[in-house]
Amino acid sequence: MADDQLIIGHRNSEWTGFGPLLEEDIAFSSMAQDKIGHSLALYTILHELGESDPDTVAFTRNANQFHNSIFTELANQEYDFSLIRHFLYDTAEALRFELLTNSTCEPLAQVARKVRGELRYHTLHAKTWMKQLGSATEESVSRLQKSLEQAMPYALGMFEESPYEKEIMEAGIFEGEQKLKELWMAKVEETISQTSLHLPDWKIVQPINGGRIGKHTEHLQPLLDEMSEVFRIDPGAEW
């Protein structure tokens, strides 16, 4: 989860200063900051459980040590893809945190309760844009449709189960990827049905997995190299 939030936040921050209109540039950047903030909160929990400090964990690992879903690391491409990813990802993210508010892992539940307001905005933003562009001009509809089809197999990779799925569920930490996926599908269908877009047939789409076990695409390592370029000049230094 922390890796997901960091990588998607980093990707979305690449739009800052390049957005399609000023107000949207600002909004998209805020949400990217929120996501990096969430990743920091989660790495902090891990640190309290014995992991290294957040900066070290985030800025010194290699791609094969990251557990983010491949979906988050893909390049931004044009704004249509970034928006579709924002919609699909944030819908899942908001539901995931909502489920976690009941987690037996109290620090996690606390973070989940805290970020609820932020995620409400992220999903409001995503839904409003989907409805707007998803039934506007021929170009906007066809762009979004194309991106939706391209994104969907990767999006399903968000629900790849970790090797510890069973233990996590039994301990009451999380209700499970399968449940999350079902909730997510319903929400996605609800919004898409209010647009001119068409969802691909769930039964046919094959999820692209691997991220959770450190198998990534060629996109991730360059992203990490770039992110840690300054940090690695002297990892011991304070910046």
Binding site: E23, I26, E78, K114, G117, R120, H125, T128
Partner: protein, 204 residues
Amino acid sequence: MNSLDPRVTRLPHIGEEGKIVPKASLDQFGTYEVFVQPKEGKPFQHEGIVHAPNLELAYVLAKETFTRRFTCTSLYVTDTRDVFVSPLTEGDKNAYDQIKSSALTFGVKMQFEIYHLPKRGKQHIHVGSVQASSPEEAMSEAKLKFNQGKTVFNIWAIETDNIRFTSPEEQELWLTLPDKKFRDAAEYKGGDKLKNFLESRIEN
């Protein structure tokens, strides 16, 4: 493009350098006025505008444009064309003196929100609402209700139904603002670090 910014290096090649297709002047988005409530119990005040194609998107865009930094509790937006504006006065002239008391009308009454400009250069502040069947009548109702001695330089009236308010469940949008310390100047106190550094320089 080869750049020091890796993001720029990755930009796609589009169009021709220095060439733009001019946008048809004034053929663009609408303008929406944004009002923010800084604190529970405080009046809403005008903060600025956003460009948007409709009221709902104006609300979504206004949220981060105007309420990402300083703590606040609520926000609303309205189409600039839905704001009725009184004459602007100066010196010690009260804008309400320019409002005629209108004759009683019998149309359907609607609610209007009323705003005052207490000083030139300041923001318009919400003072309350009135019932009226037209904006003109709203202004004259406001004169009866809110003209209480203090000089007001400009009055706005907005029909309440034309405002996109924050719903009760959306109030939580701003809850984490005080926690976003990385945007707070007070978080960047370099004092101790600086002091230690200066002391170590003297020692050397």
